[in-house]
Amino acid sequence: SSSEHKLNFKKSKEACLSYIQDALLQKQWKRAAEFLTCYVESLEKDYSREHIGPSEMIWRIGTEILCHHSQSSMKEFNCFMEQMKTLGVKRYLKVCLEHVFHLLCNGQIDEAYQNLSLAESWRFGEQTAIQDKEMKLIQAYRGLLDYYSWFKQKNILLEHSEDGFSDLAVEQEMHGYFRKAAVNLKEIIKIPGVWDIFVKCYVDLLEFYGDHNEARKVLNEYAYNSKFPANPNAHVYLYQFLKRQGESKKSLISALKILHDIVPSHELMIDFNTMLQKSKKRKKRRLGLEVIFAALDYAGWKENAKAWSCLARQVKQIVISEKHLDWIKQEWSSRKDWWPAFHFSRYLAKRNWQENKSLSYEKALVAGILLGKGCKYFKYVSHRGCKAQLERFQMLKKFVNRHNPVYLRISG
């Protein structure tokens, strides 16, 4: 505080840090640099009891400044990072990793690769064992860059084969990268974690070389091993793989089931519903209805004509067959209080009609069935549609009129 006229080293540096913090928050990079210049002499003092020491502070603050300062360059950044690596042996690999990330973000792939290789060869007594996790990450990212090289080689190879000549050298290189990449990628995905990019790349490699069994194992592990954190993408990757493999609908459906549980608003819900609707099993069709209703609960789906068409198709089919109206009733009971305002307001009717006639058609069908022919949405759209003498709207009107009693039974 200002009335405190005493000052010692520690208080002075604490004050310095708070000025740096203010400057960073206000994006005043020059000012932050100015105060950091004064802070760095903290390195010469022992802070071993503090939770975060000055070397870590300087690393993080310095990185922030160098990222944003207009006069900073990659060269300066690299020079700084090299110094930071020597500062704290306990953080060495972490600093290396972050350095690599920055290089990658700046498109310096080769430098990143060099740094990764260098870091991989680092040994420092018991620290090597302690920093084992970081080491695995480093190896994983190197594997990733090897994959990237493999990918490039693969494309060259394909190009050449199209042109009619084979290129052994390129092929050899490609295989070499594959081996290097596979080894590292395989290791990291054994550890529970979120490794989307590593998994994708690894599976890509396995598929290319025809090892589908391994790929399947990997994906199953990733999706179903409870030690791994719940990850919707795991299921997506598995599903996509199974689809590529031409698996049965049954296995595809089971892959997507969990996805529906975790992320009911996932874009794959349309595929899911489509498959379920066509199923011969009653339970599956029932699930399909549940899935599509659940998806449309989300604001992001409001204008998705495909989703509405799925719902419309299934609702129409149920109404025509006159079987399982109770399914609709069940789904509707928790939604009848808020879906009308959410989806079927007069304002939306107007807007949907103006912007997307197909959307309004599908929605009108659903609205007509669920809310009856007297509902605002249906009336507006069908009126406009008939006026414009569009055939399908005329058909729609007839259909809803014919099945109007259904709505009474549903809303009952």
Binding site: S3, K6, C16, S18, K30, E34, C38, E41, E44, G62
Partner: protein, 574 residues
């Protein structure tokens, strides 16, 4: 006996003495190089005496250093400081006559603590001191040590035994290790008789010398110059000669990592003056800079207050007798008189005068200001009438600006210097590496600081705030008249304010709790707090110290009334 090392050959501890005075192992007859005198319990004092009396002095140690004693280091520090003061304009006698003599006296007095000395020897020592002329020049000359050797005889057994217990515990570990010969000794706890030197105490020496010569530098100014870097203090060891190696415990003694504290330097100075048995200091009379009348004038100017207030401050000073020579002049060892903080006292007088005229109860001063404003409208005389409100706005603005600058400077303060320090040879390379890294980072980020370069040390200035009468924006209040807030009574101008509130009805016992009163911002009016804050900034001390002096002055001023009206509330009528 006291030699407890294990024999190198047979690992036994069974020693005897050869004729040549060397230790030999009785079990295996291995003769060592260790001689008795080295292992003697009095080894520190005796070895010093012996090496000196033999004229031996290890000139070169393995790292190119020489032996040096802690007090030599301090002597160098003082030398540098007094040279800096000279550069600031202090009279040259301060170095050659005053400070030098104080220091010599200190050396004598402090060495008395651990040696028995017959009276005759003491006299001899003094005469030697007077004849040697180069005590404070090159410390490597044996002249200083010559002095010491003459004043020492066999060590006081009592103290040496306690030395011995600590010495024998000394192993080869670096914990009691120092570049100086007696570094570890210096830091021992029971130094009561000795009053051992510390870095803050060097400033006490300087202040004491300044006071003796009655130089126009107050203690708060001195300390401000130190913080601003005009007087060597922080990192002064970088001026030590190459051969004086600092390491180990020396760091604890000579490294400073906090700004000097007024109270500490002040109290130590008085302790020192008593310790040195100094006589009464040269008289502080009305013409002295340190006299409250003079200091009040300076502070009034710096606070941008009207010159006319000076009449009032002089009246207060006179009324309570704090302008008397006896009150102001320091008599060391006199425990009954309160020690005078000249700068704080003067500031407190001004605060009291402001309270007398403006009351400062967050109400009256603003009313008075409005009145003055009214009067100013019809003011046809020379200068404008002083309006508290205008003054407050101008001064607060400047104060805020300066305070903000000061706060930033505190955050940017650099504590280390190019000469790195290492505790021992073991961590030397680490320290050097770190230093190099710090320099690299400073360069890298210094460039990114843009055009904002670290400003050169500003020239030392006695005034921190300055106001110019030439400014046409009316921001200088020196020439303003107090007539706007005074009334005529019986041909005299008196204050319109009939009231006064005491900061405290009862003073604390300073000796028990360290303060005369306890200042808490929330308990006092904002205007009072502002005024305290202003002087707190100028003097770089806590507002509570000024508050203490204000209480003291008030109690002297209203002495009679206080005794009469102890029962009543704090608002008294003048």
């Amino acid at each position: 006996r006291d030699f407890n090392e294990r024999c190198a050959q047979c690992s036994e501890v069974n020693w005897g003495l050869t004729d040549g005075g060397r230790f030999y192992c009785r079990s295996c007859h291995n003769v060592t190089e260790r001689t008795r005198e080295v292992v003697n319990t009095d080894f520190i004092t005796n070895s010093r005496v012996q090496t000196i009396s033999k004229g031996l002095r290890k000139q070169e140690q393995n790292d190119g250093g020489t032996e040096w004693y802690v007090c030599e280091g301090f002597q160098l520090v003082l030398k540098k400081q007094v040279e800096a003061l000279e550069a600031l304009g202090v009279c040259p006698q301060m170095k050659d006559e005053i400070l030098c003599n104080f220091w010599r006296r200190y050396l004598q007095k402090s060495k008395q603590a651990y040696c028995k000395r017959p009276a005759g020897e003491a006299v001899k020592a003094l005469s030697v001191c007077e004849s040697s002329t180069d005590v404070d020049s090159d410390p490597e000359r044996p002249s200083l040590l010559h002095l010491l050797s003459l004043s020492e005889s066999e060590g006081d057994l009592q103290t040496d035994c306690s030395f011995a217990s600590s010495v024998s515990k000394v192993s080869e570990s670096t914990s009691v290790y120092s570049g100086s010969v007696d570094g570890s000794l210096y830091l021992r706890k029971n130094q009561k008789e000795k009053l051992s030197m510390t870095m803050p105490m060097t400033l006490s020496f300087c202040y004491m010398a300044l006071l003796w010569v009655r130089e126009p530098i107050t203690l708060s100014e001195l300390l401000r110059y130190v913080v601003e870097g005009h007087i060597p203090y922080l990192n002064v060891f970088q001026h030590f000669p190459e051969k004086m190696k600092l390491c180990g415990l020396d760091l604890k003694i000579f490294c400073v990592e906090s700004w000097p504290v007024y109270e500490e330097v002040f109290n130590k100075m008085h302790e020192l003056a008593a310790f040195l048995d100094l006589p009464r200091f040269p008289a502080i009379t009305e013409s002295c800079f340190l006299h409250p009348d003079m200091l009040c004038m300076k502070y009034l100017m710096e606070a941008n207050l009207p010159d006319e207030l000076h009449n009032w401050t002089c009246r207060v000073v006179k009324k309570i007798g704090i302008g008397e020579v006896d009150f102001l002049t320091l008599t060391p060892g006199n425990k009954s008189t309160r020690k005078v903080k000249y700068d704080v006292l003067a500031a407190a007088v001004i605060v009291v005068v402001l309270k007398l005229l403006f009351l400062l109860d967050d109400h009256y001063e603003w009313l008075l200001s409005e009145l003055a404003e009214e009067r100013n409208k019809n003011n046809t005389e020379g200068g404008p009438y002083f309006e508290f409100k205008k003054w407050y706005e101008v001064v607060k603005h400047s104060l805020d600006v300066e305070q903000k600058k000061l706060d930033e400077e505190r955050a940017k303060y650099l504590w280390r210097c190019e000469k790195p320090l290492f505790y021992s040879a073991k961590n030397k390379s680490k320290v050097l590496k770190r230093r190099q890294m710090v320099v690299n980072l400073q360069n890298q980020f210094g460039k990114l600081s843009g055009s904002v370069q670290r400003a050169e040390k500003p020239n030392p200035s006695s005034f921190q705030l300055s106001w110019s009468e030439e400014n046409t924006d009316g921001s200088c209040f020196h020439g303003h008249s107090l007539k706007g807030i005074l009334q005529e009574k019986c041909g005299l101008l008196t204050a319109m304010n009939p009231d006064y509130w005491l900061c405290t009805v009862k003073l604390c016992n300073e000796k028990l709790c360290g303060h005369l009163a306890h200042y808490r911002e929330v308990e006092f009016p904002q205007s009072y707090h502002f005024v305290l804050g202003l002087f707190s900034f100028l003097l770089r001390i806590q507002p509570s110290y000024i508050h203490d002096e204000v209480c003291m002055i008030e109690h002297k001023l209203f002495n009679k009334k206080l005794y009469k009206k102890l029962k009543y509330n704090t608002v008294l009528r003048k």
